[in-house]
């Protein structure tokens, strides 16, 4: 039975989702960037409004006006100018732009955590006073919903009318074929700036409207906003109307589901589905929608431009330094050693990202899901509480748990086979969000789970050594994947998929295999991570954390396993020594700088070092023109007019 009252109540959340979807869509259509940062922008603006109203005691109307009319558009224009325009200028790949938007997201998350802390705040100011409007027929509609729907109507109408104006035509020309439009004298940068300003403003409006209904908390709020990307997938990245209808539909469905009452396990499941209906919608959308209408088309070799481009030349004795650095925690004091336990574990998780994204070019934003699953399965195996399986003693858990996660990895890799670039990124992220919401946060799955290191490795020192052994295995797997026949086949797939198929490379099997190997590694790392802290904490495997991990890997060189270890060390070191949020901010800033440091930090540092150390090349005899050249009289005249440069290698003045 559907009731009108519940439907009207659901329109509130639905209209907010529609708004944030519209913002995402507008930015994407006008700039070609899928702006993952929109969730964090909504979060940041909601926090800003809270700060202004609750701490500084500004009048609500003034603060809201300032935030939405000045701050949001200005922020949009700013990131266009500083981050995305340089990328646009050097024709960056969609993957590079996605990482840049990830950088913005992570910077905002870090800044918010540093400023406002990780604790939740419940007193976000409500922009619209809580008043019910009485509709004819007796039904009531909250004023907030009316405002949301009104904004949506204005935006959709504005877009529809805007399309028909001459400005709209110019915008479409720029979006369609940027280079050609620029040749016609259209200012593509202004269109992009418009897209970013509009997109951030809509994200801000959605955030401000959403805040009173939610707890204000950096990670949690951002994730909820990100979940509304379901409506954009439903709209196949094109139709604003479809996005809005999708948002409203899910909102109403959510409200209606609260009327259904079940008993027992079904009840818990239904409650989880109801409260996470946008996640269900996102999951259903990425699985059902066949193709996204991606701007500029999907391209193979998506992550190729992020790679270090060739092996780093070996620095003599690097392995001795590395071994020393990794062994150092054995000499640390107890608290520091305890913190260092997370380094090899996290390194293995990051290496799993190198495996899946570094060589085969598949963007996976969902490794946090596999890591969490590995931790949970390992803990339950060791306790003998995994249904249908006996208790697994000792170290064997670290072998069995990753193997049990492999089928899940294959299952999730399945939709990924035919997907590339943006669609694949969204799919993997959706899967990780679903795992977090429906497994890690469910008491049925996690309550009473005790996590211990295997018996013989109870002391921190012994456990650390065990972790190093696991890391060595991970390195061996990466090495074997990147060398020989497998490595060549993976590069072939990344370089040109059609060509690889024509060579007889079974691309589907190879991709699935890589997905499986990577999920097993992530599970191993996750299990060690949980054992190190002796607890299963859903927050440690938050999907947003997965995004930060991905960015960290890209920053340190997406195809560099040593880079992953250094990244893990840096993340843990910053987290233990500085206020929480610092490491996030650092990784975010570095991701934004990637446009200027192709190949990642490690590669750039190496190149710099090489340039500083390299002795100037000995200058040989100046190149003499070949005698075979016969000059005509005109040629001789030209030759006479060219002055010989004084030194070799110089250019003519």
């Amino acid at each position: 039975m559907l009731t009108l009252e519940l439907a009207l109540a659901g329109l509130g959340i639905g209209s907010i989702a529609g708004l944030s979807g519209l913002g995402l869509l507008v930015t994407y259509r006008l700039t070609g960037v899928f702006n993952l940062a929109f969730g964090a922008i909504a979060m940041g603006v909601a926090y800003l409004l809270w700060q202004e109203v609750r701490i500084w005691h500004w009048p609500l109307a003034l603060a809201a006006l300032f935030d939405l009319v000045v701050v949001c558009p200005a922020f949009g224009v700013l990131i266009e100018r500083l981050v995305f325009r340089p990328l646009q200028r050097r024709v960056a790949t969609p993957a590079e732009r996605l990482v840049a938007s990830l950088g913005v997201l992570i910077v905002l998350l870090g800044a918010a955590t540093l400023t406002w802390g990780a604790q939740a705040r419940l007193d976000a100011p409500s922009l619209v006073p809580y008043r019910q409007l009485r509709l004819p027929g007796g039904a009531k509609l909250p004023l907030g919903t009316v405002v949301g729907l009104a904004v949506i109507t204005v935006v959709v109408l504005g877009l529809a009318i805007g399309r028909r104006t001459s400005l709209g035509l110019q915008v479409r020309a720029v979006v369609e074929r940027r280079e050609l439009a620029q040749l016609q004298g259209l200012d593509a940068n202004r269109v992009a700036a418009l897209g970013w300003a509009l997109g951030s403003t809509l994200a801000g409006v959605a955030g401000v409207l959403m805040a009173p209904t939610l707890r204000l908390q950096p990670f949690g709020f951002t994730l909820v906003m990100l979940e509304t990307m379901a409506v954009v997938v439903v709209a196949r990245l094109t139709s604003p109307v479809r996005a809005v209808v999708g948002g409203l539909f899910v909102g109403v469905a959510q409200a209606e589901l609260t009327r259904v009452h079940l008993q027992g396990h079904a009840r818990a499941l239904l409650e989880a589905v109801t409260s996470n209906l946008f996640v269900v919608a996102l999951l259903a959308a990425v699985l059902v929608v066949r193709r996204l209408d991606e701007a500029g088309g999907t391209d193979a070799g998506t992550t190729a431009r992020l790679a270090t481009r060739g092996e780093l030349p070996p620095v003599r004795g690097w392995w001795m330094l590395a071994a020393l650095a990794l062994a150092a925690p054995l000499l640390f004091g107890a608290p520091d050693r305890r913190a260092a336990l997370a380094v090899p574990a996290l390194a293995i998780v990051l290496v799993s990202i190198v495996v899946v994204s570094g060589y085969s070019g598949q963007i996976s934003l969902g490794q946090a899901g596999f890591a969490g699953l590995g931790a949970l399965v390992a803990a339950r195996l060791a306790a003998g509480t995994l249904p249908g399986l006996p208790r697994i003693p000792g170290v064997a858990v670290l072998v069995v748990a990753p193997l049990l996660v492999v089928p899940v990895g294959v299952l999730m890799g399945w939709p990924a086979i035919r997907r590339r670039g943006l669609f694949l990124a969204i799919t993997t992220f959706a899967l990780s969000v679903a795992m977090s919401r429906f497994v890690f946060e469910q008491p049925a799955a996690t309550s009473g789970v005790l996590v211990h290191p295997p018996d013989a490795f109870g002391s921190d020192n012994n456990f650390y050594v065990l972790e190093l052994l696991c890391l060595a295995v991970a390195f061996a797997i990466v090495r074997n994947l990147h060398h020989g026949r497998l490595g060549r086949a993976l590069i072939a797939v990344r370089d040109d998929e059609a060509g690889a198929l024509a060579c007889g490379v079974d691309v589907r099997r190879l991709k699935l295999f890589v997905f499986a190997a990577s999920s097993a590694l992530a599970a191993l790392g996750g299990a060690l991570l949980a054992m190190g802290t002796r607890a299963f904490d859903p927050v440690a495997f938050d999907p947003i954390r997965g995004l930060i991990w991905f960015a960290a890997v890209v920053v340190f060189g997406i195809d560099s396993a040593p880079g992953a270890v250094i990244g893990a060390g840096l993340l843990i070191a910053l987290d233990t020594s500085l206020p929480s949020g610092t490491s996030t901010l650092v990784i975010g800033c570095a991701a934004l700088l990637l446009g200027r440091l192709p190949g990642g930090l490690l590669h750039s540092a190496h190149r710099l070092l090489e340039r500083l150390l390299r002795r100037p090349a000995p200058s040989g005899p100046p190149p003499t023109p070949s005698r075979a050249i016969r000059l005509t009289s005109a040629g001789r005249a030209v030759a006479r007019s060219i002055h010989r440069p004084p030194a070799a290698g110089g250019s003519a003045p």
């Binding site: 797997i477 026949r485 086949a489 072939a492 370089d495 059609a498 198929l501 024509a502 060579c503 295999f513």
Partner: protein, 252 residues
Amino acid sequence: MSPALEARGVSKSYDGVLIVDHVDLVAEVGRITVIIGPNGAGKTTLFNCLSGVEPADAGAVWHRGDEVTGWSSDALARRGLARTFQRSSVFPTLSVADNLRIAAENHRRRGILRGLAGLPDPGGRRAVVVVGAVLADLGLTDVAEVRAGVLPSGTLRLVELGRALCGEPDTLLLDEPASGLDDTETEEFHQLLHRLAARDLAVVMVEHDLALVHEAADVVYVMVSGSVAASGPPGEVLGRIDVRSLLFGRTA
């Protein structure tokens, strides 16, 4: 003996527009079969349907007597049906030798797990021998270690052909293999084609250069707006004035 490749009634349309319309085609071992036709006649789409790059809407394809309709392109490649692309599809970050080696290594499907465990590839040695032979055959030995991305387009055509040969195919589909070659290269390529056909290979190619078609082809198919307008020995087919006008508009 059954033909190397046989297609019957192959059709393909995009958005309701018929691009390939009930095409029948037979390619015999040891023969060079050439498809000619104006731009947009559906030649490349036909190739894509034959090589499994995209599924045909209707019709059936046989390879050495076995029906392979609907097979994926990598499975067909492992079966011995190799192809090249009109737009170069070499792997730019790999050396020429590695480009060829990928085809030599993957024409049999061997355990990925062996590779993950770091065990040597049982067919690896043979692959290296095959690559060396093909490099020498095509005159690519000098550039074997050069990154493919920096080579001129004429050489890339040869690299792509070499890659197709390294899968030890019995049927070769070449999509405009001579485009981008200069006169000497075209002449050399022509010699090469005959050597290949003499090795019991069935060669099917799309070609625009009528002189080359005259000299090289054993059988010619003329495609016009998706269907085969004429087929037969080149002398007879190309001698007809109507074929020339179909290809090049009104003759002067």
